[in-house]
């Protein structure tokens, strides 16, 4: 009995191993022969098959992916039927199919496709971040069409409009400034981020006002952008955020002050005497990062300012500075 079972299992598994091995080897030979020089264009019988698949709603996962593959191929090949099929697929309840339609429209990239993508962004029936990625990739073509998103009733649409305008420094400045007073904090944050790339248009005042926003993530974006737009004049207000209750806001303030470089030094020096430990630490860290500590350590090691920075940053900040100085001295001597 045992022998019979063992021999049967042996025979089945042996045949299975042979069959699977042949499938691997022959499948690979077939693949290498077929896809060595993949062609982008589709025509004839292959095109008809792809058109059939792309048009047919799928009932299973498998059918859904076949449809996705067909839509992708047709869009890449810019087949004449692609726009019609993509528009239909954009409405499909299957997220895989609608996502493929978004990618396909991005691949087409013409005026009609951009119009469809903006419409999809407004309606929100497909993932807006996917649509936004395609619109961002197609810059500068969408351009002025994005402006109308800024006045949409839906705050999510206004958010994406403000975010996408980052690629167009010449348009929408006034509207973005207005959006810094939007009732939705996500919109205010997006407007702040985009204004960081465009000085003027009253952006500086708007960003400085947002540094006191009740929402912490708005303050994060405002701090980073104010550093770019307002410059040294904004440093004291940004340095004030070094004592913010939120760690992320303090980090954003440090980033902004670091980016300002030497222009931020006066504001940072004032914070060295702050009663808030986080603020003192942060100011000392930024002064270290922008090279003030290293410069003083070499040129004026006994300076009072250096002593104040060390007092604010702690013993380890001093040790790190001394190590850097020693390493550089060794390198120069060598």
């Amino acid at each position: 009995m045992l022998l019979r079972i063992a021999v049967s299992v042996f025979a089945v598994s042996f045949v299975g191993w042979i069959a699977l091995s042949l499938t691997v080897v022959l499948g690979r030979l077939w693949y290498d022969a077929r896809y060595r020089n993949p062609s982008v264009s589709v025509s004839g019988r292959r095109a008809r098959r792809l058109l059939r698949r792309a048009a047919r709603p799928a009932r299973t996962d498998w059918g859904s992916w076949r449809r996705v593959a067909a839509l992708t191929r047709l869009a890449r090949a810019r087949h004449s039927a692609a726009p019609r099929l993509l528009r239909r697929a954009l409405e499909d309840p299957d997220p895989a199919v609608s996502a493929a339609a978004v990618r396909g429209l991005g691949a087409l990239g013409d005026e009609w496709a951009i119009e469809q993508l903006i419409d999809a962004l407004r309606r929100g029936h497909v993932s807006r971040s996917r649509v936004a990625s395609q619109l961002e990739r197609l810059a500068p073509l969408p351009g002025a069409q994005l402006l109308r998103l800024l006045s949409d009733d839906d705050p999510t649409v206004r958010f994406w409009g403000a975010t996408l305008l980052a690629g167009y420094p010449e348009i929408g400045g006034g509207s973005l400034v207005a959006l810094t007073r939007d009732e939705d904090p996500n919109v205010r944050a997006a407007a702040a981020e985009t204004l960081g790339e465009r000085p003027g248009h009253g952006a500086a005042d708007a960003l400085l006002a947002l540094l006191d926003d009740p929402e912490w993530f708005v303050r994060v974006h405002a701090a980073r952008s104010a550093g770019h737009v307002v410059g040294a004049a904004g440093a004291p207000a940004i340095a004030h955020l070094l004592s913010d209750t939120r760690w992320w806001v303090r980090t954003a303030a440090k980033d902004a002050l670091r980016a300002l470089g030497r222009e931020a030094v006066p504001a940072l020096v004032r914070v060295l005497g702050s009663p808030d430990r986080f603020a003192r630490n942060g100011a000392a860290e930024v002064l270290q990062d922008i090279g003030v500590v290293d410069q003083l350590a070499v040129q004026d090691p006994q300076s009072q300012l250096l002593a104040r920075i060390y007092a604010a940053g702690g013993e380890r900040l001093r040790e790190a500075a001394e190590l850097r100085a020693a390493t550089r001295a060794r390198a120069e001597a060598a």
């Binding site: 299992v9 992916w65 961002e136």
Partner: protein, 466 residues
Amino acid sequence: MTTQLLTVVVLTCLGYLLLTNVVAMVFILVGAVENAVRRHDSRSADYSTLASSRFTIPVSVIVAAYNEEAVIENTVRSLLDFEYPEFEVIVANDGSSDGTLERMREAFALEPYEVFVRRILQSEEVRGIYRSAAHPNLVVLDKANGGKADAWNAGLNVARYRYVCGVDADTVFDRNALLKVMRFAIQDPARVIGVTSQITTAKNPERMLAAPPGRRPVDSEPLMVYQLLDFLRAFLNNRLAWSRLGFMLCSPGGFQIWRRDVLEEVGGYARSFTCEDIELTFRVHERFLRERRDYHVHCLPDSIGVTEGPDSIAKLIAQRERWQRVINETVVHYRRMWFNPRYRSVGLVGAPFYLLTEVLSPAIELLGIGSLVAAAALGLFEPVAFVAILGAMAFTNAALTACAILFDDLQSRMYRRRDLARMLMLAPFDLVLYRPFIFWARLKGSWRFLRRDKGWYKFDRNVRAA
């Protein structure tokens, strides 16, 4: 009486073997579906848009390094070379006693800086933080030795981004590894809290990765080939199915992406276990299922990196012994999940599967081998029956391995054709050339688990050709 008892034991062990193989085949069928879906998903993905988009979620990559002087530079270079819009690399040097830190200092022009970071998770003292003059997105922590989990926790305190990716210092990655895996997380960041992907193994990972897909060479030594086949089976025959069925219980330390807020919420990596990766995965599942939250931990079939495999039997046994121990520690620690419907498929299938095929299997296999030998000595079975049983086991194993090779080739078309053929030919001999060492390692690991041994027993790195 003895004869009857022996017969019962032998038949029970063969029944166990049959059951595990049937379960393995069910997983293969489910994995085949998952593999096909992911393959189509990946082929229609728009990687170029993702690679350049501002909307691609940034990632903090954390490397825990302990005495990794030989490999650390290549690993960090492969990480810095990622094709991804925004990421940082944090290396936590866990009190190495070799030249790991010196090697990095020279290779990446590191300079000490004081950085004030959050201390959300406990870790041993961070002695210094270094930044690279050449790579602004590289941060190196030098900390007192506290183990890999401790090093990762220290890295997490420094991490700035929403997703964190824990990697091993002995693994090198494809340039698009992060893109391939994060593409999946970005599709549904609210639900996808953890993702991992297939990692392979080689004696010299850099050599394997240097070749383009389709021409990747497989090591010539059978020991390395069998380890590669083992990895392929683990990922493609098992984890894909677990993923689809909702109980992906092992995000390996070699490459695991987690949403940072989840790691902070569950308290980071556990320092009280021999190894941290599988325990963390269990803990996340336990927490989210207990609180009835909607979530997903996923494993993808894409081959994204190569880890260094032990090139000698002694090293292999040391590694696998440790793996066995940590599995035992974790599965036993989370015993409240076994067969508990509250934990859905994790409690009803995943945890019991681990118990049956990992924790109990060394004991059952030992019993089976012992009883078979005794049965042979007593003349209970004819020699031909033994040969048939061995043949059945060898070729069932080979068929399962061939399935994994097929899945991998369908997914990635990674290896040279001649290497595919060699792997297929070697598969039936796995039972005699490789499994005995793994069996011994698992026995040793189980014994050490019973003795509550939690040592790491790190083995020396392979010697690479210049």
